[in-house]
Symmetry: C3
Subunit: 219 residues, 3 copies
């Protein structure tokens, strides 16, 4: 592996996502293995699903040891230092926004390079960015945060769309990567700062009666 | 994409499953993105897993935009109109039975065409039909409905078996597709109407003491 | 399929894991289909994920009917006989340790044979061994046991590491398989007997205040 700026950026994203997963594991009082496992899923899960979807097997996370090592180290650090981590909450949110941006851009580009059509490539880019967090929440018994709050996946999907358009009009790659990463990062930070959220269903927020159940026999 | 009867039928299944997923998301008070995401998983998840299992990557749902667009539109409609949707409950159950039938038949055929042996192809056909609902329930923090109630997966598996036998005896394809789709559809509707269910474990239905836990250390 | 000692050993692992999954399904009062489905996921899920990760599609469980048949039969037996099964708890834990050992060794070897690098192959071997139990727990709405207790995944990972080293130094295959299987089996039994566990996060075990949440907007 050559140590390129792209690799360093990618590994920063891996470390931040691993810390977020480990943090969720600590909150659930998992044991050391559990904390590291949830950290690794949060950090690498999105990329693994992305690679399965585009047929790039074995997935990158299994063939480039630096990814796994960084994820495990970040989760271990969180495990031992978690009170301090909590104090860094703002920094973590900023780094997390950077991870979201980077994973979206690399995921969308990999999908386009694997000849996935535009719409599908955008969705795969978003899955690469939010998939790890989904796995973290499923493993710790939570309804995924990304489905409930704020402009997070939307920022990713928007960015993936811009990446796709710029690839089609053949913009210079390094420029495209930097530009769209910054775009997603800024949108996400603005959403955090201004507390933007996606709409919630119309109707009272505490329902007056029983909620409409999903159609019964539909499994 | 040519607009064939098969495509139209498939998209009806996608729309109904998306509405069921979106309905579950609304019941959990997810935000707009969450509702659409759960709807898309319910509609497309089974087919995506089917394609991963038979090595057809990128999965169909990522290469044919009509599938994603129909799923998203159906979920959006449900999001804005959900009280009305609730009144259509009977219609939804019938359309859902149609989706179950169609996804089973196309899933089994795709697996057989990918040279999966008979037993495996039946299971893949069933996974194609019930996988989206499983994903919907996992994302919304429920034990999957399909594991708890009624003849749903069983109707799918039975139908997949009939598809496989008819393929082996080389029945004419269009006839086979129509016949087995109708068969699964009718079995499912009968199960709904007569309230058929699979057996539940022997023993009292409210256990007198603590339930037998799964074998402890087995992860 | 030739009936080799390896096949018999593998199928014993499948049967035990299926019984553990079915047992979890019975505890949640799933219906017959649900119990069998969770049993099959517990027995075959790890191997299916392993095969997806190394690109061996369709996965082995779908192309060799004996695996599915043994899983279904074991789950059915558990469904009908579960009070007796509960009395066999010690035997089940021993057989489960054997399943863990076997699935780790075969999973790691398959990954290495598919040219996955060492670190990735160890992780895939562990996933093959613990993946089914993870699926079982997710389907039944539990935080996975393997993330919370005892030396289980750690025994698997350790064994996968030894397998990898022995393959690199080119040890005779049958010897390697028997030796590492016994090693993992013994480590797991010792962990059970001596009640070894992985560390839990530092800090009081009942937290004095609200637990640190995972970083908010990170989906």
């Amino acid at each position: 592996m050559n140590v390129t700026p792209a690799l360093v950026a990618d590994l920063v994203g891996v470390a931040v996502f691993a810390a977020s997963g480990a943090s969720a594991g600590v909150a659930k009082r998992l044991d050391l293995f559990g904390v590291v496992f949830v950290g690794a899923v949060a950090a690498l899960g999105g990329g693994i699903v992305r690679d399965l979807l585009i047929g790039a097997v074995p997935p990158y996370a299994f063939t480039h040891w630096a990814y796994l090592v960084v994820a495990v180290l970040a989760a271990l650090l969180l495990f031992w230092l978690h009170p301090q981590f909590n104090r860094l909450r703002r920094t973590v949110l900023v780094l997390d926004a950077a991870g979201l941006a980077l994973f979206t851009v690399t995921g969308t580009l990999k999908a386009l390079d694997a000849r996935v059509p535009a719409v599908g490539a955008c969705v795969i880019g978003m899955i690469a960015a939010i998939g790890g967090g989904l796995g973290r929440d499923l493993l710790t018994g939570e309804i995924p945060v990304v489905l409930r709050r704020e402009i997070y996946a939307i920022a990713s999907l928007l960015g993936a769309g811009v990446v796709t358009v710029l690839v089609k009009v053949d913009v210079n790659r390094p420029l495209l990567i930097v530009g769209t990463t910054v775009l997603i990062f800024v949108v996400r930070l603005l959403a955090l700062r201004r507390n933007w959220g996606a709409s919630t269903p119309p109707g009272p927020s505490t329902p007056p009666g029983p909620l409409p159940p999903p159609p019964a026999g539909n499994g």
